[in-house]
């Protein structure tokens, strides 16, 4: 089994941090007989920015839903190691679409997770406003989602996921539908947020460039059946900024990751990646 530890130079955040969640032999078979995941072993450590990278059908979104508790594994276990019970309020989830309530204002959308926990509007206001400021959305709290651009909607979605101060942020291809300029900006802002708060991120993407730019660990997955193919440590220091984006180091890391991804796609028997 090719798993874990690309062993070379350690010193990245994840090698010292305690384990938060260990997936052991996790598999998921849907009722239609499709094996979405097979024997996935994966350790997520406190403070990781871990990307799940792979072609469509490799089960990366399924893995994310399992971690979120939105779905249960057919086999294997998810072992939450964090001290104290880690309930769902410790998980923030950002979907591929902004998934906002279209009738509610930006403020009310971000308030929602707190509201569901019984926090009144007035009590929630400081946290909501602070979160909106963190994602650079001050001043639009009264707008409704349709009045916002795609990037702004995604910022609201991130603010909503973060307003409960979760320890884990799960993101399912959150920026896939955005244009490149907006995506770069959101990447930078997300990293900034992550560095300030040091929560753990599991980030699903099919973009090599995005995963390398953001993560300290990239887990490459292969399809049919969905499985972990290989893992790469991205040995580049944070903060990463626009200078990093154009650096030779970044290019080299992207090439390295890309090669692994190509092998992962090749490894699928009779592979025909439809690029969907």
């Amino acid at each position: 089994m090719m798993r874990e530890k690309v062993a070379q130079a350690p010193a990245s955040v994840s090698d010292v941090a305690p384990t938060l969640l260990a997936l052991r032999g996790v598999g998921k078979v849907f009722s239609n007989g499709v094996t979405a995941l097979s024997d996935v072993n994966l350790t997520i450590r406190e403070g990781d920015f871990l990307s799940l990278l792979g072609p469509s059908g490799c089960g990366k979104s399924t893995a994310l839903r399992l971690i979120a508790g939105l779905s249960t594994p057919t086999s294997g276990v998810l072992d939450w190691r964090a001290e104290g019970s880690l309930d769902r309020s410790n998980i923030g989830f950002v979907f591929q679409e902004p998934t906002l309530l279209p009738w509610a204002s930006v403020f009310d959308n971000v308030w929602l997770p707190l509201r569901l926990k019984g926090v009144s509007r007035a009590k929630a206001a400081p946290a909501v406003m602070e979160m909106l400021a963190r994602v650079h959305l001050t001043g639009v709290e009264d707008a409704v989602p349709r009045e916002l651009s795609g990037g702004m909607k995604m910022r609201v979605s991130i603010a909503r996921a973060m307003v409960t101060k979760p320890r884990v942020l799960l993101m399912d291809e959150p920026f896939a539908a955005l244009d490149e300029i907006t995506r770069f900006k959101l990447n930078n802002d997300l990293l900034e947020l992550w560095q300030d708060e040091r929560f753990t991120v599991v980030f699903v993407t099919h973009s090599v460039f995005e995963s390398v730019f953001l993560s300290n660990r990239v887990v490459v997955m292969a399809a049919r059946p969905g499985r972990v193919f290989d893992e790469l440590a991205i040995e580049a220091s944070y903060p990463r900024d626009e200078a990093f984006r154009t650096s030779p180091d970044y290019a080299a890391l992207c090439r390295q990751t890309s090669d692994v991804l190509v092998n992962a796609i090749k490894s699928t028997a009779g592979a025909h990646h439809d690029g969907h």
């Binding site: 508790g69 939105l70 979907f95 998934t99 009738w103 929602l112 569901l116 409704v144 989602p145």
Partner: protein
């Protein structure tokens, strides 16, 4: 980008034509139907005069109008009776339709079990059910209400049920992740999501409750004391009082139009900020 001032803004011929076209359409939307209506009324009047049609067959529009004025006391008190049944039944249809829809939304099993009954109630012509209601129910108002309700509640029930069930899956997951209770999910997610559907049903139900009320009055054959516009029409028919018949008909149509406009306005006010249907075309 609101007012386009042609004096300042130099428009190319294509854009200028588009602006002219839009202005024409804006005016035409009001002027055309009005013109056709006036033309129709005028021809109606001419037909009566040229063919010397007697008043008890087809009264001239002017006669209908003056009858409306002369019989105003009688007609408007009847209109009030009909309106009372209409609005009460619409209210009950909203309460019953939304209530049942919420009940259905609680469990697929409940919906599967009871929805067919609602359909049976809907597809059976009310005129055919009425004799039964007539036997079982004594109170005149209750009879009429029940009739109008049966006609009006279905669009609200079926639309609201559809709305409650067509919530975005990711949003549902989001609520689940945040540990929302059943009630919270209903209150903050499913009911608001169903609002456009409900309002669509309400617009249909508004007209139907008027139709239901009038039909019920017809089949109840309620003549004499405490009677609505339908009985005025029946009565006028027997007496060959065509002007009054037309006047009553005019009032019913007018009421229907007003109900539709009011409900459309309510719908627009509620949805205007977020729903596609209520948004102005911006492109």
């Amino acid at each position: 980008m609101t007012a386009i001032d042609e004096g300042v803004l130099k428009l190319d011929p294509e854009e200028a034509r588009r602006v002219r076209q839009e202005r024409l359409e804006r005016i035409g939307r009001w002027v055309l139907p009005l013109a056709i209506m006036i033309l129709a009324i005028w021809s109606w009047d001419r037909i009566c005069v040229w063919n010397a049609i007697p008043q008890y067959i087809l009264p001239r529009p002017g006669v209908v109008l003056s009858t409306l004025y002369i019989d105003a006391g009688l007609l408007f008190s009847s209109l009030l009776v009909t309106l009372r049944i209409t609005f009460l039944s619409l209210l009950l249809a909203v309460v019953g339709g939304v209530g049942l829809a919420v009940l259905f939304a609680q469990s697929k099993w409940v919906e599967m079990s009871f929805f067919p009954f609602a359909i049976v109630l809907q597809v059976t012509p009310i005129v055919a059910i009425f004799p039964l209601i007539n036997i079982y129910v004594d109170n005149q108002t209750t009879k009429l209400l029940l009739c109008a309700w049966i006609v009006a509640f279905f669009p609200i029930l079926s639309n609201t049920t559809l709305g409650l069930n067509s919530v975005d899956r990711n949003l549902r997951d989001m609520f689940k992740l945040n540990g929302a209770t059943r009630w919270q999910q209903l209150r903050y997610l499913r009911l608001p999501a169903a609002m456009p559907y409900f309002l669509g049903g309400l617009k249909i139900a508004g007209g139907l409750s008027l139709i239901g009320a009038v039909v019920a009055e017809f089949v109840a054959g309620a003549t004499g004391q405490s009677s609505g516009l339908a009985s005025r029409i029946i009565e006028a028919g027997y007496r060959l009082n065509a002007p009054r018949l037309f006047a009553a008909l005019f009032l019913i149509s007018l009421t229907g139009i007003l109900i539709f406009l009011v409900l459309s306005l309510i719908s627009h006010l509620i949805l205007r900020r977020w729903h596609e249907s209520a948004l102005k075309q911006e492109r």
